[in-house]
Amino acid sequence: MNLFQLILKQMRQRALSSWLTILSVLLGVGLAVAVLICRHEGATLFGQTDYGYEILVGAKGSPLQLTLNTVYNIDRSPGNIPYTLYEKLLHDPLYRPLVRLAVPTAVGDSYRGRRLVATTPAMFNIGTDGQPVPENKRFEYRPGRSYQMAAGQVFDADKFEAVIGSDITRLTGLKLGDQFQATHGFPLPGEVPDIHKPKWTVVGVLASTHTSADGVIYISLPSFYCIAEHGTGLVAQEAIREGKNIKEVAAQVKAEEHQAATVPGTTKPAGDDDDEPDHYTVDAAGKINLTLPKEVWGLSAILVKARAPSTIETLMYDINNGRDAQANNPAKVMREFFTTFLDSTTQVLLLISLLVTVVAAVSILVSIYNSVAARQREIAIYRALGATRRRILTLICLEAGMIGLLGGICGLLAGHLIGAAGSSYLEATIGESIHWAVVQPEELAYLGGVVLIAVLAGLVPALKAYGTPVAENLVAQ
């Protein structure tokens, strides 16, 4: 009968107490491991240094809000910026030498809770001519990673077509060839949804990216502006920006729409509602003829890749000094967010879980101390059979260590299960998952620390056992 068998015997002898102590260790370690995973994966998820583009341009306001909204498709958009800024970035002599590529996005609508992002085919590396863009103009959402089509094709820039993320079919039931109508904003439970009239047809499905893009529906920018409320809203915003009379601007837009509607070969969309002015017609080929002037088009953000690293700061400086927009490096924003919020929060959580671990160690101490008090005769028998004091000390300390190890291993598993649950939640909410199954070196170091603390906790009862008088306990009955 070796030492290990003896320890297991001792533990089985007081199984309830042993299991409860193991449970207390499990809780402490599970919590700490979950925090360690959160900390590590949070840094990986939010603290990454490269997004494939260096600058996010959006409405002035919170850089974090802009980044969360644009990159992770959560939170509200901080507001609109004029579409003309996008054109400036591409064509203005001031910006053009600094910009390698720019991709505009506009958000505000949803379908069954999933976000619609209006953009140009450039996001999927299709040029204005419908052909793939050259290598140096490829848009990458992460360094070296572009969106790939799993099925179908990229939407036409001027049609009511959509490309869906890889999780959309699972999340909403939409599939290739289906038609859908967008919902205004994100209605709360119980709220009557405001469903827009236009109908988009799904023409493509993206390959999985394991990013929030997997849960997004992409449509073309012009089709986004065809939504009546969007046109009216944009006109109003433009009027306010320019200090114009809103009614006059609206009347002008209506006259232009009337003119467009009378163009031979075009039709007003079916089911049109006269109460809401439409800003487009659709030709026989399904092409949108948008009457809303580009001057009033708004964007939620522009994703910009600079021509060279040295131009990034200049570009951001120029944009930030203008009236229209802010420009930020999303990697820097997320690093700051992680450092100031997530990092400190996880540090506090880590401290709490360490305290829980210490409490668990104390429970080991109390549990074994009580058992030693109740096992004086048993220890005396061990001694009478030839066990040295040191052997008894080792036996008790190893029992404590074994409880720490079992609780620690179970806690490690529990922590990773919490990580798995967190990963599922993140995937459902922002479309990003974490590597919950990977055991980090610091977790193993922590586990080693837990076993060490447990052994040290066992030292107190072990010393009591060490001092057990043999003869007295053998005689006493």
Partner: protein, 238 residues
């Protein structure tokens, strides 16, 4: 194996703080393969003497020398860890009450006796239990065994390390007459089998008479004699 005790003294501290001498034995000797009954009334210090001989207690003075394989070891002078190891390897101890561990099976109790002596011989442990008539109950825990069977397991455990000497402290004290005879016979047979010297403490003179030799503690321990009759005494084996 031989055991030589010289000027062995041990006293305890009474609750009132005074010293109470319990053992004062000028000389006592046991030879190889002897089977000796140590008799005496209650309170004479029989158990204390066995504890001293086993190294469970240390004497205040005197020596306890074991001669094993031509090597002398005075366990009274051994540091405690070595004394524990010596006990585990060379001394088998049968307690008055069996002192089996309740969570361990009969076989595990015997194996436990071996493990602290640095051995592991499952076959020998099984053989011992078969010899004491418990071959069918190897996996039984003490609670499932009768008192007589429990004491037989304790006998097997004491013999597990093939000790040079077996110290048995009233091993039949809790047994009825038939069981007492059977257990005594087992102890004697097994001691003969492993060539161990046996020192068996009993207050039962009939039981003591069954052993080839006996020793009255009252004759060897000065403390049991009246203070006025403090003449030198010596251990004599009948």
């Amino acid at each position: 194996m031989s055991l030589q005790v010289q000027n062995l003294k041990r006293q305890f501290v009474a609750p009132d703080g005074s010293s109470v001498p319990v053992i004062d034995i000028p000389t006592l000797a046991l030879g190889d393969n002897q089977q000796v009954a140590l008799t005496g009334t209650s309170g004479l210090g029989k158990t204390t003497l066995l504890h001293l001989l086993a190294g469970i207690l240390t004497p205040d003075s005197g020596s306890i020398v074991y001669e094993l394989g031509g090597r002398s070891t005075d366990i009274a002078r051994l540091p405690e860890p070595q004394r524990d190891v010596f006990r585990g390897r060379h001394i088998g101890y049968v307690f008055q009450t069996h002192h089996l561990l309740p969570a361990f099976t009969a076989l595990e109790n015997v194996l436990l006796g071996m493990s602290f002596g640095g051995r592991h011989d499952r076959a020998w442990a099984t053989h011992l239990l078969e010899r004491v008539g418990l071959g069918e109950r190897l996996g039984f825990k003490p609670a499932k065994l009768s008192v007589g069977q429990q004491q037989r397991v304790a006998v097997a455990r004491a013999l597990a390390n093939r000790p040079a000497v077996v110290l048995a402290d009233e091993p039949t004290g809790a047994l009825d007459s038939a069981n007492a005879q059977a257990v005594l016979a087992l102890i004697r047979d097994l001691c003969t089998e492993v060539r161990a010297t046996l020192l068996l403490v009993t207050h039962d003179k009939n039981l003591a008479a069954q052993l080839p030799q006996s020793l009255d503690l009252a004759q060897v321990n000065r403390i049991s004699r009246a203070p006025s009759a403090a003449a030198p005494v010596g251990g004599t084996v009948r």
